[in-house]
């Protein structure tokens, strides 16, 4: 256990990914410490989501290695990966709720798949998770009856109900109104404090970065362009970074 403690929660070494003719990730190195919230910033299409999918084994690297809790998951067969994935939860950009199931069934699904059968314990775990995201009372609703923000929160509840050690957020606030965005940002922070999980938040929303980040990674052209604290990012004078923070495209009318 002590050896595991010393390992970073997530480590990526020289990750390359080609998707057809595109070379999306080009030798990316990254280490994320246990219990910290790392925000991954970058422009659309720079490979943020692709990186995230590698951390849970949904995509395989073209080259390079990925370690979770010190375990090399790069070449693990799919069935062995399933065990690793239970330690890592992922909130999808679209929330990816199962639309044929109610909110409660969505939350019960991962628990039942892990072998939990006791109805009382199931109920308690679901209530606890829904309570954390502030959606108690929505158990019987179908996903298509929920607003975008609520769907994200149910997705988050489904992610945390299995008590992962690490949560990956794929653009948690994209497409939400500013107030819901703020609520989700607080939720990410609160969950991190209460559950003591390692979090990776992929976003291009600076507010989310300022609110949630212990550390920031800025991706540019498939590589880590900057890694440091949020204050270091703010203090940066690099034009690529300052343009991104201030939202300047360099085009004029």
């Amino acid at each position: 256990m002590s050896a595991a403690k010393e390992n970073p929660a997530i480590e990526v070494r020289q990750l390359h990914k080609r998707l057809g003719p595109q070379h999306v990730l080009r030798g990316l190195d990254l280490q994320i410490r246990r219990g910290e919230t790392c925000v991954v910033l970058g422009r659309s299409g720079c490979g943020k989501s692709v990186l995230l999918k590698h951390l849970i084994g949904l995509m395989r690297p073209t080259e390079g290695r990925v370690f979770i809790d010190g375990e090399d998951i790069t070449d693990l067969p799919e069935r062995t990966l399933l065990q690793v994935r239970r330690k890592v939860g992922m909130l999808f950009q679209s929330a990816a709720l199962f639309d044929s199931m109610t909110v409660e069934q969505n939350l019960a699904f991962p628990l039942k798949e892990q072998g939990l059968r006791d109805p009382k314990e199931l109920k308690d775990r679901i209530t606890e998770a829904l309570d954390m995201v502030g959606l108690l009372g929505s158990e019987t609703k179908m996903p298509d009856k929920l607003s975008g923000g609520m769907r994200k929160r149910v997705g988050l509840a489904r992610t945390i109900v299995g008590r992962p050690h690490c949560i990956l957020y794929d653009e948690p606030t994209t497409g939400l109104d500013p107030i819901t965005t703020d609520a989700i940002n607080h939720l990410i922070r609160r969950l991190q404090k209460r559950l003591d999980v390692t979090s990776v938040v992929v976003t291009h929303d600076m507010k989310t970065a300022f609110h949630c980040a212990d550390s920031v990674v800025f991706l540019h052209e498939g590589q880590v362009y900057f890694q440091g604290t949020i204050d270091e990012l703010r203090a940066s004078t690099d034009p690529t970074i300052t343009d991104f923070i201030e939202g300047r495209s360099g085009e004029s009318d």
Binding site: K53, I56, G57, L58, E78, R79, L82, Q83, R85, R86, V88, G89, M90, F92, Q93, S94, A96, L97, F98, D99, F109, P110, E113, Q114, R158, G162
Partner: protein
Amino acid sequence: MFTKLGHLAVSFATYLGELALLVRDTVMAVVVGRIRWRLVLNHIAEMGFRSQLVVTATGASTGAVFAAQTYFQFHKLGMDSAVGPVVSLSMFRELGPVLTGLMVAGRVGAAIAAELGTMKVTEQIDALRALGVQPVDYLVVPRAMALIVSMPLLVVECVGLSLVAGWFVGTQVLGIQEAFFLENMRRYTDTFDIAWTLSKGLVFGFIIVFMSCYEGLNAREGAVGVGRAPTEAVVRCSLSILVSNFFLSFGLNILFPTV
């Protein structure tokens, strides 16, 4: 021209290979994975039980018109009592399984491809994997088991109803003597013909479920992609059923020789 043909051959081989991998993964999942019996039952209800109407209606309609047309021709030759065996043998050996296959491909194959395709593009299949569940275990295995159980039964229903309809039209409407009709039907139809129809049903069930699941799991992004999946599934299943039926007929004739 030759390059085009070459590309076509390569993509066909790739398709067959990927299909074979899906079948392998499914068999592996049955061996090492957990079988979700409740889902299997749900799918039997959805795909088998609910397909009965369309399948029996097809059978009945075909049996009725087939008996009538055969009678119109045979009556001129004074062979009225041969209508029974002609209807029975064609339905058992060819039309029953093929028509059931085509109807089920249209109803069930399209539904499978559309459902899995939608799940694919809305990231629900990635979500399954992220939650530690193999999509093949959860989505393909129960459907495959359900359809492989249901298909032979549906074929039997289709053939059964066609015989009832043929009997009704032949003896009650067109006036063929019932005793001869039934006796000849019994004499020329034997256990082999039932084995024949069940085997074809099984094979067609196999074709429908795997080809449709494949189309769904490989659906492309967007409305066009999801729309194309069921269309492709129905077209490919139907063509495969028609082509494989030809070879099955020859193969089964060696296994269960009748001539």
